[in-house]
Symmetry: C2
Subunit: 134 residues, 2 copies
């Protein structure tokens, strides 16, 4: 399951996408409209910014806005940024790979099946973008 953090991230990013390009929206507005705890949302948006998904402007008239066209920001990227791996096993993760302790990956069938599952999931999440959830 996605963490609350990831769910909030998707909602917030979707909201910003709907608001259009370089049009700064304040954290407070997103928090209120999307019912996300303000201080928690601060952390989340900052993370999304550091990942290059959002940009921000400080001071009066400032806020957050998306850095690319909505159709260029995949849901997979947002999820990875806040939750880490999408795969169900570390040893089949593309971005967060970790070797499993005692299995030979060449011959491990569990491995193989979960690589299939990963591909199936990513087929959706890499191609669905903010465009699809605005």
């Amino acid at each position: 399951m996605l963490s609350k953090k990831a769910q909030y991230a998707l909602k917030a990013a979707g909201y910003l996408a709907a608001k259009g390009g370089a049009n700064p929206v304040q954290i407070a507005e997103i928090s209120e409209k999307k019912q996300i705890p303000l201080k928690f949302l601060e952390n989340i948006l900052l993370e999304l910014k550091k990942a290059g998904i959002l940009e921000s402007k400080k001071g009066k008239g400032g806020g957050y806005y998306i850095s690319h066209a909505p159709s260029d920001i995949s849901l997979a990227k947002i999820i990875r940024t806040v939750d880490g791996p999408i795969s169900m096993l570390p040893c089949v993760s593309l971005y967060f790979y970790e070797k499993c302790s005692d299995c030979d990956e060449e011959h491990c069938n569990i491995n193989r099946v979960f690589a299939e599952a990963r591909d199936a999931t990513l087929q959706v999440l890499e191609h669905r973008t903010l465009q699809d959830i605005m």
Copy 2:
């Protein structure tokens, strides 16, 4: 990500499947061969039994064995038994559905995308069985 518990469950069930039908295998043997902490494995196998995936025999010559043909036990069922939902959001879960607080499911696009992701994942995990990981 799958919990350690789910990973252990898959390994143990795969081992039992490889051992064939009504052929009781002791917890200790599985624990040793698959490198799973004994007492933890006890709990896991008991859960799998209660879910109808395994059967057991007590006393000398006892142990655990799979209750159906390996090809009749899907990986999805094992995962759900020990980890709960496979979906990424409660509101698209088939077996552990929970309404989301403030989203209208008829019109929620996030919802719709994650139902797609769920279907893609399940397409693999419902059709892949112990047969595939023995």
